[in-house]
Symmetry: C2
Subunit: 347 residues, 2 copies
DNA sequence: TGACTCGTTTGGAACGATCCAATAATTCTT
DNA sequence: AAGAATTATTGGATCGTTCCAAACGAGTCA
């Protein structure tokens, strides 16, 4: 049954040494004699001993080997991949992670941050819910716990951040559509009260202006940043007197929805209409037509965020570092650019 | 800077009481006088005290308020939604969760289970990687830690399980396609060495046999259970001398890939070809055509698994409970059934 | 032989919260 | 007014590990 736990003292007794020696063995200290080490390890195996990290963490010099990860929407592939990237690095570094989904709820976010803090995390990576304030990280930073913000920036937060270059990415994507001859280009999806959406819209606008095209606000259609939102957004856009011939989408989920919506109207994405996504989720490559997208490499971003946090945890000092990762336009089929090649291949 | 932590003793001193009283306040004990409670709470706020759960967990009567969740592929929406469902219940119950992704690696799985054990989880929910054996849970069960297996069963494991009724679901889906007049129905995607795939294929087979149709093994095409796998599978299937007119897909990701692959060949899913998925991820509703799928309600399943685990944690006794959740065929457009209605509506 | 290493080993005091048994302060009985 | 009953509070041992200072045995050197 639930027998009382096996402790170092039990091991010590079984191996005929002191608990201090057992502790040294556990830490793979070079101080201990080989034979003793073997004896102790045998006893550990024999008794089925399980190291108790909570106890070890009690000593205030120790650091906990636990980090917290908070994301706002795990059902979005982008965040799932981000989390997977972090997971890979953290696992390899011997860390284990608390993961919590806020679903954009500030209350939940506050609760989970507090809870993680009580459980002794050594660091936190967070993609903050909308409306998060710099003050929400105060308890952690005051305790010297490093925090890395990803994806969405929080003004005034004196913590590290890892963001993607939304402006440049949106501009590049728009320029690409322009170069394909499109003149009525829509920006579909996303809520304009978020920093990320604002940055992407700005990049889109700047590209149009530079090309000497008057930006038409009717072509900017807000919607939930989801597949369903994309369907809704493209439907609204196609009802315009002068409908667009191409669209830059807020993210890949929206872009998939846009493709769905177009097909529902008998318009084939890639052939009759240019669609560009944003994020670069794995599915973008697999989809047909393959989605042209501004790739931020979510897994890679997750890995980098994890490394950033680990660096701070290990260095001991918490100095905020702001990093903007470059993005790359992955040209595939949905924008129409690859159609000529496809034609050649199939002929 | 990283001043030494504020402890109950600091609070006690500041409030002019003993640490025992502070402890009682922390546990919201009714024994303590209202005024004293107020004084203590004021001191707690004032000093920015953070409860140290590791310390509390040391006492062997305590349970840790931490559970572990291990999934094999978080980039698959199904598992992401499953995790979100668990997260909701766990958060509400005041638990925090370790989440780890194994990516089907048994080594990683072993490592994370051991690591979580060392960190003192009170329970574990796991969607086991392929090849997991009952013995992999022994350390946990020996320590009296409840384990709930979800999605995939492990033969001989004396732990609780929560599975979906794969056989019935696949049979119902196949019967539905038969009722729509299809006679060449394929089963696309998945690896036949997994229990889940075997059960689904068996349900598919049984439905065919019952309808008096000889099952043609050429119509069963294995592939990775992903969108890309779906594209590949349908391509192979359409090369057959007698290609299928409809397909039951291993899961929704495969089904989306199958839709992609069909379109690439100029075949419109739902109109020219019946597609049915399995899982019921959120995207299935949003997609166009909306995906007909055997819905297991992943979030709901996650919630139920979490409740199952919590019940065991709270009851104290670990008695294995096997539960099979019913599934529901959500008929939408991709199977072709709704096309008649759509036709009517648009006329 | 005594002082000195060197390589191992070891008590015991932390760490921060809990909880039992005991005490102190108050009100209620009779 | 003395004892019982009730209400609040508290000291100290405890949980399982770490780590320091000390000690130990065995050799080395002068």
């Amino acid at each position: 049954m639930t027998r009382s736990r096996v402790t170092v003292i039990d091991i010590a007794r079984a191996a005929g040494v002191s608990k201090s020696t057992v502790s040294l063995v556990l830490q793979a200290s070079p101080l201990v004699n080989e034979q003793t080490r073997a004896k102790v390890n045998a006893a550990i195996r024999e008794l089925g001993y399980v190291y108790n990290r909570s106890a070890a963490n009690l000593r205030q010099t120790a650091s906990s080997k636990i980090v917290g990860i908070v994301v706002n929407d795990l059902t979005n592939s982008f965040f799932a991949e981000l989390a997977v990237g972090m997971d890979m690095v953290m696992q390899s570094a011997g860390f284990v992670q608390f993961l919590a989904n806020t679903g954009e709820s500030l209350d939940r976010q506050r609760e989970v941050i507090a809870s993680m803090h009580e459980h002794g995390i050594s660091g936190l990576i967070i993609s903050p819910a909308r409306g998060t304030e710099a003050a929400d990280f105060r308890p952690l930073t005051a305790a010297g716990i490093p925090v890395v913000i990803v994806v969405r920036n929080i003004a005034g937060a004196k913590v590290s951040s890892l963001l993607s270059d939304n402006h440049a990415g949106a501009r590049e994507a728009t320029e690409h559509l322009l170069s394909l001859g499109h003149r009525r280009i829509a920006f579909l999806g996303g809520f304009s009260d978020t920093t990320v959406a604002r940055e992407r819209v700005q990049g889109y606008r700047d590209a149009l202006v530079q090309a000497g095209i008057a930006a038409d606000d009717a072509l900017i259609v807000n919607s939930a940043p989801s597949r369903a939102g994309g369907v809704a957004a493209v439907e609204r856009a196609m009802l315009l007197a002068e409908p667009p011939t191409a669209a830059l989408c807020f993210n890949d989920a929206v872009a998939f929805g846009v493709c769905d919506g177009l097909r529902a109207r008998g318009i084939e994405p890639g052939r009759d209409f240019g669609v560009v996504g944003f994020d670069g989720v794995i599915e973008a490559q697999a989809a047909v037509p393959a989605l042209t997208t501004v790739s931020v490499d979510p897994q890679g971003m997750g890995r980098r965020a994890a490394q950033m946090l680990l660096k701070q945890i290990n260095s001991g000092r918490v100095e905020a570092e702001a990093m903007v990762t470059p993005v790359r336009l992955a040209v595939r089929q949905s924008c129409g650019a690859a159609m000529k090649d496809m034609g050649r291949n199939t002929v």
